[in-house]
Each structure stands twice: as structure tokens, then as C-alpha cells.
Amino acid sequence: MNAEELIKTVEGTLINPDADLSKEIKGGCGADLMSDVLASIQPEAVLLTGLCNPQVVRTAQMADVSAIVLVRGKLPPQETIDLANNERIPLITSPYGMFELCGRLYQNGLKSFESSVADGDCSCEQFS
């Protein structure tokens, strides 16, 4: 799915017109806790969230997120928009809620890009 199709599917509005809309959206992830996002999201996903602070954009940047959809018509503060502009990550606001949006995207063929906790075993060793 490309950004244009995403905006149409969520009936959303692009908040930052300077964003890079060329990135393919390969899957989706919905969460309001940023550590949950970082723990589970795979690269090149759309992130659906109710959170509006700049850390949403930072999280998206670290996790190679292709686009952010803010649910329930939320409008972020200017700091968030500025950061999204700098990083050129599309910031989209949609009037619908999280469940509705996940459903719409899933129905349009977008896969879940949330890895299950069962996959997330810690392969880390003690520091040497």
C-alpha cells in the first residue's frame, strides 16, 4: 500500500505536506505505549496511535516506520509537526478510532507488522 492509498483508506488528512510519501507501507502496528511499539514493530509499517507528542515521531524514526496515523481526529502540537517535517515522516490524522482503523487497513490487505511476544525471546548475553 502506498501513502496515497493509506490516506484514502483511513479517510485521513496529511498534516505535514513536506513528508516523504514515496515509502511503501508493508504492514501495520497499533499501540499507545512507545516501548510496545519498539518491542514489536517491524520496519516499513504504518503506526496507528492515539499519542501526539514528539516521541511518536522519534519512535517512528528509530523503528523505520513509513507513516504515522493519529486516531480519533487528534491534532498534534507544533513540536511534533516540526519533527515530522524534519524527518519527513508522513503524519496523518483520521477521524476514526483505533479498532475501526486497524479493521479497515486489515480488510484492505495490510498485514500485521506486530511481532508476537512469543517470538521476542531475549538472545542477549551477559556483558563481557
Binding site: M34, L51, R58
Partner: protein, 333 residues
């Protein structure tokens, strides 16, 4: 190229979004003198219209300024030529058919000023004058497009050059062990700038030739550590990243308050964050578990009342070496 039309459009095509909006930005950075055509041929008041027609025909131009002692007094466009031809008046002087006092722009103005005049008036070309009113060039929409494309191209090349240089940083330096150390000071409770250090580290790693996977793992781990410093510390802390060709070592230290039970802190879902912090989207209790997932080894040491030290290491395989030629740095060129 139109300065106002694309700002409010919701959906653009990929290419438009890529180039137009950035070129709009550039229209506010570039001066008209940087994109205009110089050494423009100008007509004089003593010239006859038939001479002008001849010049148009020979050179393929479709507009020509008229100057007197280098000062602009008018412009002749195709429309003026048609007017003259319909009158059958080719022996007339240029001053009779030129458009006097045309719209002009100043060479020191920003390109966006020229765009505004193009949009407002619908003219195809604008004479450019210097501060003394002397003709210094002419600008068309085509000049602007070419000028912007040139800058866009050189900016892309600049980033490529940076990447290329950084990805070979260590090659010419001889030592028993070469490394690059990055240090960042993180303030407590600074949520607005939180993540800036991780963001800079990610960019640095990519320039040094890191694969997207390595850059992602590393920046997620550092971001979680950075957020921990912001949420939990009394006085913020320091992130120190040591980059060597075959490993990245990260050392995050603070001077308190320290963790009461390190083992419990490591458990997924365990969090001591306040309700206020949770409302900001943090405190899921996944931070340290995330870090463990992203790095190859980690060690968390803490003394209650004294401070905490988190050390992490990511090992790089030979295809992922940093600051030395590798398949990633070659690919990005």
C-alpha cells in the same frame, strides 16, 4: 512551478512530494542572481522593429528587454511583435511597440519573489535589475526550474559524499585499535528533545556504512536508554558510544537515584513510571527488555542512591564493518 498551488493539496504523487516541496523551500534560500540568465542581449531605442524580428527569428528567443544607457526602459514580447506586424509597421522604432515600465525583479531578491510575480501577472519572463536599476539579466520559469534542480542534485551529492567519506573514515588511519567516540548529555524530564541523541547516532551510523538493520537495532536500544535517563534520573546522564570497525559499545551512566532491584527491573512489563509518564506513552515496562532484544550483550549495574550504569555491545560481522569499505557503503554510493 507555482509557489502557492501545492501547499494545501492533501495527496501528491511521490515525485511531486519529493521535489516540489523541497524546491519550494529552496525558493526561499536561493537568490534570483543565482538562477537568472546573464549577458542578455538588449535592444536600444534607436533599433527598428524589423531588427528585433530578425533577432527573434535567428536566435529563437521570444522576448527582449530594451535599455537606454544600461537602464531598463521596456520589454518586447511576441505579443508586441504581432501588434507591429498587424500594423505593417516594421520600420518603427522599438520604443513605439515595446511594453514600457515592465514588471521587474531585483537580482538580490529571493527566487520566491520572482515566482510571486509570475503567478500574479501571468508574464513569461521578467527582466532582472540591480540596485541601481541597470539590467543585469532575465529570468523565466525555466531558469528557476533549472536552478532548483541543480541545487537539489548537488545537495543529494553532498549527502552521498558525506556517506562515502565517513564510510571509509578508518581506512587511512593506522593504530593498534582505532575508534570513534560520540558523547551526548541528556537532561532529565526533557521530553521535547528526548530522542535527539539517538536520532543523531542513527544518522552517524548510517553515514559510517551501517546496514539499516544494525542502525535500527542500535538506535532502538539507545533510544530506550535515553528515555530512561529522561524519565528516571535526578540530574540526567551521559550516553557514550564507541564505534569500532567490528563493534559498537554503548555506555549510559547517571548519578541517581539508582535501581532498587535490577533483576526485577529487567522483567518485561515491570515499571516504576508515574501515571504522568504513562500518559506520555512511556512506562510500559518494556524498555530494558527491548534493549536486551536489540543488543548482543548488556550489563546493568546500579547502586541505590548512587547511580546506574548500562553497558551494551553490538558485534558487527565483516559485511557490516563501520568506517571501512563494506557492501553497505558501496551500495549507498
Amino acid at each position: 512551478m507555482n509557489a502557492t498551488s501545492n501547499r494545501s493539496t492533501v495527496v501528491l504523487t511521490d515525485q511531486q512530494a519529493e521535489s516540489i516541496t523541497r524546491s519550494e523551500e529552496l525558493a526561499y534560500e536561493l537568490r534570483i542572481s543565482e538562477v537568472m540568465t546573464r549577458n542578455v542581449r538588449a535592444a536600444s531605442p534607436e533599433m527598428q522593429m524589423k531588427d528585433v524580428v530578425e533577432i527573434f527569428r535567428k536566435t529563437g528567443i521570444s522576448g527582449m528587454p530594451v535599455t537606454e544607457n544600461d537602464h531598463l526602459i521596456g520589454i518586447i514580447s511576441m505579443e508586441d511583435i504581432f501588434h507591429c506586424l498587424m500594423e505593417g509597421d516594421l520600420n518603427a522604432y522599438t520604443t513605439q511597440y515595446m511594453t514600457p515600465n515592465p514588471y521587474t525583479v531585483k537580482d538580490v531578491d529571493l527566487v520566491v519573489e520572482a515566482l510571486k510575480v509570475f503567478v500574479a501577472t501571468g508574464v513569461g519572463r521578467l527582466p532582472v535589475v540591480d540596485t541601481e536599476g541597470k539590467l543585469s539579466g532575465i529570468i523565466t520559469k525555466g531558469d528557476i526550474t533549472r536552478g532548483l534542480l541543480k541545487v537539489l542534485q548537488s545537495k543529494t551529492q553532498e549527502e552521498e559524499m558525506r556517506r562515502y567519506r565517513a564510510s571509509h573514515l578508518f581506512e587511512d588511519i593506522e593504530s593498534d585499535r582505532t575508534s570513534l567516540i560520540l558523547r551526548y548529555t541528556i537532561k532529565q524530564h526533557d521530553f521535547v528533545h528526548g530522542g535527539a541523541a539517538s536520532s543523531n547516532i542513527k544518522r552517524a551510523l548510517l553515514r559510517l556504512g551501517a546496514s539499516p538493520q544494525i542502525a535500527r537495532r542500535c538506535s532502538i536500544a539507545i533510544y530506550e536508554a535515553e528515555i530512561n535517563l529522561i524519565i528516571h534520573t535526578n540530574n540526567g546522564g551521559i550516553i557514550r558510544v564507541e564505534i569500532e570497525p567490528h563493534q559498537i559499545t554503548i555506555d549510559v551512566t547517571d548519578d541517581g537515584p539508582g535501581i532498587a532491584d535490577v533483576e526485577q527491573a529487567m522483567k518485561p512489563g515491570y515499571s516504576t513510571a508515574s501515571e504522568e509518564i504513562r500518559e506520555l506513552g512511556f512506562g510500559a515496562g518494556m524498555g530494558l527488555a527491548n534493549i536486551a532484544r536489540c543488543v548482543d550483550s548488556m550489563k546493568l549495574e546500579s547502586v541505590l542512591g548512587k547511580g546506574t550504569r548500562l553497558r551494551m555491545k553490538i558485534n558487527l560481522e565483516s559485511k557490516d564493518t563501520l568506517g571501512e569499505s563494506n557492501p553497505n557503503s558501496m551500495e549507498k554510493r
